[in-house]
Structures are given as C-alpha cells and as structure tokens.
Subunit: 331 residues, 2 copies
DNA sequence: CTGAAAGCGCTTACAG
DNA sequence: CTGAAAGCGCTTACAG
C-alpha cells in the first residue's frame, strides 16, 4: 500500500502538504494540488484509517452487541444500524453474545480497548457495572430494545402498551381466556409485556395464564412447549399472545397438531412482528416493530453522543417508539 | 483512558518494560512484573488496539460484505463467522449491500483503507476488478456462498447437486411436472441450481418449467408470483422447487390460496434451508445448508491467508460443502 | 502557500 | 533484566 510519504516523494512536496491537499484542510496552490492528486492517483493511494484514527482519536467505528441474529428481529435492526452508520461515515462491528453474560463481557472488553468509538447494546443485564465503567471511561453507549440500565440512554419499544393493547384487542374479538408466552422476566421487554398483559387482564376481570419453560426463549420450541402448557392449565383457552414471532410459529404449529383451528377456536398474536407473520399459511397478526427505524435512531443517537465535545455533556435520552397492530388471519 | 506511559510512570519503569511485561514477550523480573501488573490494574489499563494495529500492521479485524441479513441465510452465516472470529481473536465488521453494486463498491473502498485485514464477501459479481485490485494490494479475500471470481478463494455449497438431487427426489415421489423458482442467473448459486435442475430433467425426460419475475429475488413475493406463473404455464404442475426458504413460503401460500393441497396435489421443496422450514404449519422439506459451519470455515480460511507470511504465497482454495436433504411434510 | 517538527500509543531491535 | 531510540502513517500547530 502506498503511503503519504510515497505520494509526497512522487509529487516533490512535503507530506504535510499532501495531507492538506488531500483533506482540503487549508489552501494549497492549484498547481501543487494537481501534482499531488495525480501522484495519489498514480500510486492508488488510500489513506490508512488506522493511522488517522490514532492521530485524531476517532476510529469512526461503533460496536453492536446483540444476543443473536438468525431468525430474530436483531438482524433487521442491525441492517438499520449499519445503513445509518454508513450514511454517517461509521463502520459497524458486530458481536453476538447468545445471551451469555461471559461472552458479553468478553465482547465489551474488546470493544472498549480502542475498537469502537461507541457501543450499541441489547444487553443481558448482567454486566451493568462494566457498562457504567465503559461510559465513565468516555465511550458512549446506547441501549437498544432492552433497557436494563436506567442511567444509560436507550431506544426501546413501548412494550407495556403492546401487552396491554393485545389483550384488549383479543377481548374485543370475544376471547376470555387469554394466555401469554413470555420469557425471562429479568429482561426488560419480557417483564414489561407481562406487566401490560396483567394490567389489561385486571381491567377486564380476566384470569392470568402464563407459560414458561426452560428452553431458549427466542425459539420455536419455546412457543410450542408453552402452548401445550397453557392448554393444560386451561382447556378453554381461546387466545395466545406470544412475545416474539418465532414463538408464535411454535404456537400455531402446536395448535395445528392438537387439531385446534385458528382463528375459529384459537386466536394467536405476536408482540414482536418482523414481517415473517405475513408469510405463513395462516398469516399471523402481530404488533409490528419498526426495527429498521429503531436501529437507525440508535445509531444517530450514539453518533451524536460520540461527536458532542466532552465539555457540553448531554442528559440521558430514552426514546420509546410504538408498535403497530397489523391484523392478519390468525385473529 | 490510561496509556502505557501512565502505567510506566506509576510503576517507575520504562514503557518498553511495561510492554514486555504485559505481553509476556521477554523475561521481566518478577518483582518488576508484579509492580507493573498492580499499576495496570489500578489505572484500569487497556491497551489501545489502534496503536498496536498501526505498529504491527495488523488490526485483527475482518470485513464481511453480504447482500442482506433479515430473513436470509446470511444472518446465520454471519453468526458462524463472528463466533469463529472471536475464537481466533478477530473482530467482525459488517456491511450490507442490498445487492447494489455501488453500495458494494463503497463498502469495499472503506474496508481496503485500513479497516480490515481481510474480507469475506458474498458479491454481486459486478466489482470483480475492485476485488482483484484489493487482493493484489495485499488484503486477502474469501468469497462466500457466491463464487463469482474463479481466481479468488471461496467457500460454497454444491448447488448443482442440490438442484439435481431435488428433481430426482421429487421424481421418486411420483412428480412429473416439476417447476423451478430461481433468481438472477448472473449469480453463481442460482445459475448452478438451475443447471442441476435442467440436467436432472434431461436424464428423466421431463420438461423444463422455470418461473422468473422482476421482484427482489430473496422474497416471499417472488416465490408467490413465480408460483402463480408456473401454474399458468403448466396446469398439471405437481411440484415446486424454490431456490430459498423464503420463496418456498411464498409458494406454499400461493398454493393455499389456490386451494391446492400440500403435499397431496403439490410437493414443495426449498434448496436453501435455514431451519425456518421446520417451523411451519405444513413443515417444508429442504436441502439444509450448513450455514454456521460455512461461516466458520470461511473465517478460518481467511485468517490463514492473513497470517501466512507474504513469502510463501498459497494457492487458491475452493471449498465446496454439501447440503443435507431434510424431509418434512411438504413432500 | 509550504516545510520541519512533534506526537497519537504502542512495539521492537539495539545496547548495556 | 531494563532503558533509550526509532518508527508504524498520519495530522496539526508553528514558523517562515
């Protein structure tokens, strides 16, 4: 790779002049400039971002930490992050934790040591201390989807309303025995969805019926097993709310196997839609999440934090977006 | 952030000694070492990878360029890449091109200028020249899934066999009018699957029936529209081969809407399975792709290329894996 | 308008 | 066993 020095030699000027010409950072005589451009082109010069980064203290890179990508909303969110990052001149480093706190710690350790100017994270909630340390050391963080630390900025969805509105929607459809498939309640989104579900049940005088099991929460099997559990708990069950689409697929499949017709005998809705709902044999009603937008907003928020001079510290920002109820055949 | 200098000052030694102690790169007196470790710990020292990178000419980062992540096999592949990268001490930078050649060029330009030690790419096939330039400049490249350039190493699937074997499998099931939903034939995987399909048809004396339309190829709608087209072309159609799962979902849905029963009246198989096939109301038979493994292998191949000294140039390597037929209800 | 010099934070021959 | 020095490739005050 050609360096600044090579270009300078070929153009018969000092490296500093080359730098100024190429970055348009101060006036350079047109003739000199032309010579420099020609030399740079001839050598196929590309500045070494590593050196620029070291010098300027910015590497124009953000780290993204997510629990998983495959068959999860995070793949769409990541696309939103990356697209916005590219627009703003930032590269996107990705780490997948499988929701393992140790892996998460490992990822954060690497990111903090000069890999990234800032971090977007959907955290397990087990490394709050590390996160606060990193922020204190000057690397801004934005929480995405999961708001586990109240003192770190975040972009989330109004999960309480999702749970709440889903119950009322099903009630209007005539359902009176509404089950919930949720997930680990130490994760904010699951907790909040359940809160919304419970409060709506109280308003309507209905009884709670929650499914839980020990399988990985973001899975087909989790939805499947919980559905069977909900059915055992209450044979007159007439509606199932799944926390995420993939659980919803499991619920639909379980109903099919039990010869329960959807939506006649059972209505199914997912609280985290990511388009797959519309692609099924019996398409699935869901609260659609503006995933791409959320990713973009998180990236914008983070870049703002990165580029704001240290002096004028900003306050926390907690952005809460809303899901959109998209009615399909399953209700 | 504390620097080497800070640690050196606190431990009353030279920075070089600190570096040697922390990296275990040569013998340091135990007492000195202890003092240095204590100092590093007290200051919460983390080495600046940017500086290490500049000094050593390695940033331990690879760039991954993919057309999309959401609802595509690439999200699973990326997880495989990232996991293996983490194991080998490499960070993963991701770029999503949406199969737009200009975006792809932009991503490559950034990656080549010091962002990455190597590149894994599922390319559009439109920037072959740029790819060869990058390789020539010393940044190794591995093609993944799509082998568009014969002179650049690759990890792919045996797409020809996928197409070929699917036809024979369906023939055995009694199908005689087998349609294919494919994609842009300038992309190697689609082209090869079609070649396999056609050769099997010739062997069996069957007639070709291919669907194509102008929608984005990796989509539900593409599968849906092509299915309707195939049905118009040949009303006695009794099997559909979809290039990817998501097209298969479209095909199943189209059949449902036309009151065609699966598998009694129509058998459906996907040539790029990524687990979602098993989660449907009518589960879908598919050629399952070892996506996670392919990602890991590509990362390993790339790291080997990166870490092999310039002197002993290696030959090209084209790794071709096989898919596994997973039979489910749709056939 | 341009050059010479210092320095970002590290590593690594070279001495001693 | 440890220090002093050079240098990775850049940018940016400081002179002139």
């Amino acid at each position: 790779m050609a360096t600044l020095k090579d270009v300078a030699r070929l153009a018969c000027v000092d490296v500093s002049t080359v730098s100024r010409a190429l970055n348009n950072t101060s006036y350079v005589h047109p003739d000199t400039k032309a010579r420099i451009y020609a030399a740079a082109k001839e050598l196929g010069y590309h500045p070494n971002v590593m050196a620029q980064a070291l010098r300027q203290g910015k590497r124009h890179t953000v780290g993204v930490v997510v629990p998983r990508l495959h068959l999860a909303i995070f793949s769409e969110i990541l696309q939103g992050i990356e697209a916005e990052g590219r627009r703003l001149g930032y590269a996107t480093l990705v780490c997948v934790t499988e929701d393992d706190p140790a892996t998460e710690r490992e990822c954060l350790a690497r990111l903090r040591s000069g890999f990234a100017d800032g971090i977007i994270i959907a955290a397990t909630g087990r490394n709050g201390r590390v996160l606060r340390d990193i922020e204190a050391s000057g690397i801004p963080i934005v929480q995405l989807v999961r708001k586990q630390e109240p003192r770190i900025s975040s972009v989330t969805l109004d999960y309480v309303s999702c749970g709440h509105d889903a119950v009322h929607f099903l009630y209007q459809k005539g359902c009176r025995h509404i089950g919930l498939i949720s997930g680990s309640l130490h994760l904010a989104p699951y907790k909040e969805r359940k809160d919304g579900y419970c409060s709506a049940l109280r308003e309507l005088g209905l009884e709670e019926n929650c499914g839980e099991c020990s399988l990985p929460v973001n899975s087909f099997e989790y939805g499947f097993d919980c559905t069977e559990q909900l059915l055992r708990n209450n044979p007159s069950l007439d509606a199932i709310i799944a926390a995420v689409d993939i659980q919803g697929l499991g619920a639909i499949r379980a109903c099919t196997e039990h010869h329960i017709r959807i939506p006649d005998q059972m209505r199914v809705i997912s609280l985290t839609g990511h388009a797959v709902g519309g692609m099924l044999e019996t398409s699935m009603t869901s609260m659609e999440m503006p995933a791409h937008e959320m990713g973009g907003k998180a990236m914008r928020m983070l870049v703002e934090l990165i580029e704001t001079p240290q002096g004028q510290k900003q306050g926390l920002q907690h952005l809460v977006l809303s899901a959109t109820l998209t009615e399909r055949e399953s209700t």
